[in-house]
Amino acid sequence: MGRIKHALCVVALALPLAFGTSGCAKQPVVLKPEIEAIRSISKLSTIQAYFHNVAQSTKTAGTGFMHWGEVDRTYWVEYTGIVTYGIEFSKLEVNEENGVYTITIPSAQVQNVKIERDSLTEDSVIYSNDSFWNSNPITDKDQVKALDDAQKQMELDAWQNEMMMHSAQSRAGELISSYISSIAQASGTPYEARIVYADNVIPESIQAQIDKAQSEEDSSSQTE
């Protein structure tokens, strides 16, 4: 009797495992984003530049007999990229001497590079046909890489855009001067300001990436 009970228990446990929960309605997965890496920053953004971008990618045909018959695929994505320029707010210096305020604006920086969400639709993507003989698919990884490479390139270009960097600095000067003068005026204190702009410096890590991209471009143009 005990054995029968035991066997019944095993069957009762095994049945749901064997047939899954196919009888039940599937519940949608609800996933809550996890917050990570919280850090205090101090950034004043002063300019947002909108660029019309076309990321032109080529997925080359593979090598080896498994890839015979493949063709190079062209993949273009058209979208609007936004570059935010600004300054490190905590590096601002305000000094007073004989009633004259000297405001030193630190080097401008590229604070963020992003894709304007609404500019990226399925219509923004154009791609060439695949080979009849052997498929050379533009996979999800290829698509991610194309967009990521384009954005990285945009960031490097943004750092090298001296006009934007100067504009970001001068706008920061205007904002800070206006803020300080408002307080001085409210208190009835005479206000005279001198704005000094620090030289714009590209961080070493970014400069290294620019140099690397440049050398890669040079070597590819030589190969052509």
């Binding site: 984003p33 890496a37 919280i38 997925k59 999800d140 967009l147 990521d148 706008r171």
Partner: protein, 243 residues
């Protein structure tokens, strides 16, 4: 007589056989094998030259083998193609901004994508990493003299809000439930969905606003300090949050 004749014969035959062997030796010497002919010049070289020639031949053989392996590998070792991207960019417009960001954090999340409205048939899952920045708009800071106390300057600071949300386009990773969902435009669709989810999540999350607000206050006080230090008499600066 006969013996003498035989001796003479023997001598004659003996001499003839020995002359044969010397001739054959001479013939051997005169007609060396093809190999010996080919390597004849090699033997004539001095030791250093021989070593150099041997090294050159060994290198040539090794190079030949390498080329052979390369040729074979290009056929038998399969490598998929690479994605090479160049960007063509042109400036559309410039907008002024005055956002003071004091807190930044990253979100990691997964967006499930369904093929039906009831959300029962899964197409794919996309994982992403996004960045959120919080702060204020510096231009919205108001500075006024207090109506109650003429010696008090009131700096009214706007409430902290989400300043920006950005999905890192290189962070997207997929798991496909439906292979047909893996199209050439899947990344564009997924990116939009990730952006929407990130924006919603950031706006719903109030937990970090206090830290961002504290940072804003500290930054503004630090900036104003050189001016407030010069204020004469009983004049003081008071900071308060806007409603």
């Amino acid at each position: 007589m006969e013996k003498d004749k035989n001796k003479e014969k023997e001598q004659l035959t003996g001499s003839s056989s020995s002359s044969k062997s010397t001739r054959s030796k001479k013939a051997r010497k005169a007609k060396p094998s093809k190999m010996a002919t080919a390597l004849g010049w090699f033997r004539e070289l001095n030791r250093t030259a021989r070593t150099l020639v041997t090294c050159a031949i060994a290198l040539a053989i090794a190079g030949g083998l390498w080329l052979l392996v390369q040729g074979a590998s290009s056929i038998f070792i399969n490598r998929p193609g690479e994605m090479i991207t160049t960007l063509r960019s042109s400036l559309e417009k410039i907008e002024n901004s005055s956002s003071l960001s004091t807190l930044e954090y990253t979100y990691n999340s997964i967006v499930p994508v369904y093929s039906d409205e009831e959300q029962t048939i899964e197409r794919y899952f996309v994982r992403y990493e996004g960045k959120v920045t919080m702060g204020i708009n510096l231009e919205d800071v108001e500075i006024n003299l207090s109506t109650e106390d003429p010696d008090t300057i009131i700096v009214t600071v706007p409430q902290v809000t989400i300043q920006d949300t950005t999905v890192n386009p290189g962070s997207l990773e997929y798991i496909f439930r439906d292979p047909a969902a893996m199209t050439e435009t899947v990344n564009v669709e997924a990116y939009q969905l990730c952006e929407k989810q990130l924006e919603q999540a950031a706006n719903q999350d109030e937990s970090l606003k206090n830290i961002a607000a504290e940072n804003v206050m500290n930054e503004l006080k630090a900036l104003t300090h050189p001016v407030s230090a010069q204020l004469t008499g009983n004049v003081k600066v008071v900071y308060e949050w806007a409603e």
